[in-house]
Assembly symmetry: C2
């Protein structure tokens, strides 16, 4: 798969440079920065021979733009987050499990790394298909940003690409919107709606839908809508 | 095994701090510094919650002191070094192969990380039992010091300790001295001696000798010396 590293609001220029270096060390090149600090001489100095990765990084202003066209969106978090984010029903994977999961697939694998102090926000994690956590010591689980990138890219560096083309994040978002409408149409209980939609998002997110499967699911929902009389058959 | 991280003449105080943090992240604590720079506020700031690892690190002035009592001494090097150090007949291992090698063993596992610019010197590598190299991109194989420590400790973090007590580096050095004397005694060709001794050092180094095995080898040499009449039987 094509690996895209996305730093979400990194605070330290040096960390951005260090990440650029490790991206190149493991043979990758796609670096996206969401609202980064000014990238200057300090970042370049830390990036060393990876100045090309740093120079060609994409600076974006919103997460949807950062993850555009992705087949799989991965959030990263320190172990501590596990309990806090439980309500997101997020399956937790180790870096090696992530590797197994994407082995032989095709498409863009976006990996989000959060702020140095507070990591990724819950609303950002909601957009992720799965969450990866590096097994660290209970005594001090929070790794430095570039170290976390190093460990995850180390495990992904020899992953093989296949031919199984996965659905893109935009297509899945359309499916989720369709499901939301469908819940309205069938008169699903209002107070349960948000939770159920999040659950559906999680299940379909980790199912690694292909484009074909996604279209078939959309067809099933369309057919059901026709049956209950809210749309015309197409 | 007990993992001891040894930084050989690190130049940057920040790197020492970053290494302290990653040592604690993966549940280790033993950090040795050979001729480090002054460790001040910058290192402490980068070490963050691992100030205890930094405060309790041992500052030493020679490599033999740093590796004292070790069962296995590992050198680390970027891929580029492979050809340069070929004459050392060094077997190269990946971090995962190192883990497999030490799994279930007992004793101190010392891992040497060299200077930020030139790494470990050949004379330092000679003291190592084996060399570990992280598989990196040919385009930019040289990792930042603390990133290399992160990747290796990540792989070692769940290694299990066993009961097989390995011989210590000092005992092996005594065996090597005995072999050197033995080559003299049997009239081994002077110009071949250094190379053969290095080869014996490599073979016995990667054989992970137990104390018992080492004593038996010493007994064999003693017996041979007695047979050729250079020593009395004991």
């Amino acid at each position: 798969m094509e690996v895209r590293i996305i730093l979400v609001e990194p605070k330290s220029e040096e960390n951005v440079g260090a990440v650029a270096r490790v991206v190149k060390n493991f043979g990758f090149s796609d670096l996206y920065l969401l609202n980064p600090p000014d990238i200057g001489i300090k970042a370049l100095s830390v990036a060393a021979h990876a100045y090309d990765v740093l120079k060609s990084c994409k600076i974006v202003e919103s997460l949807p733009v950062a993850i555009a066209n992705s087949a799989i969106v991965v959030g990263t978090t320190a172990k501590l987050g596990a309990s806090t984010n439980k309500h997101l029903r997020m399956p937790f994977f180790s870096p090696l499990e992530l590797k197994d999961k994407v082995e032989g697939k095709r498409g863009i694998l976006s990996i989000l790394f959060g702020r140095e102090d507070v990591g990724l926000l819950n609303d950002e994690l909601k957009l992720c298909d799965l969450v990866v956590s590096i097994p660290t010591s209970h005594e001090y689980p929070v790794m430095n940003l570039s170290h976390a990138v190093a460990v995850i890219l180390y495990d992904l560096s020899d992953v093989t690409s296949g031919t199984l083309e996965l659905a893109r994040v935009e297509d899945r978002e359309r499916l989720y919107m369709q499901l939301k409408t469908f819940l309205d149409e069938i008169g699903y209980r209002e107070h349960k709606k948000a939770k159920t939609l999040l659950m559906l998002r999680r299940i379909l997110g980790r199912a690694e839908l292909t484009t074909k499967e996604l279209q078939t699911l959309q067809g099933v929902i369309g057919k059901a809508e026709w049956r209950i009389g809210v749309v015309d058959e197409t």
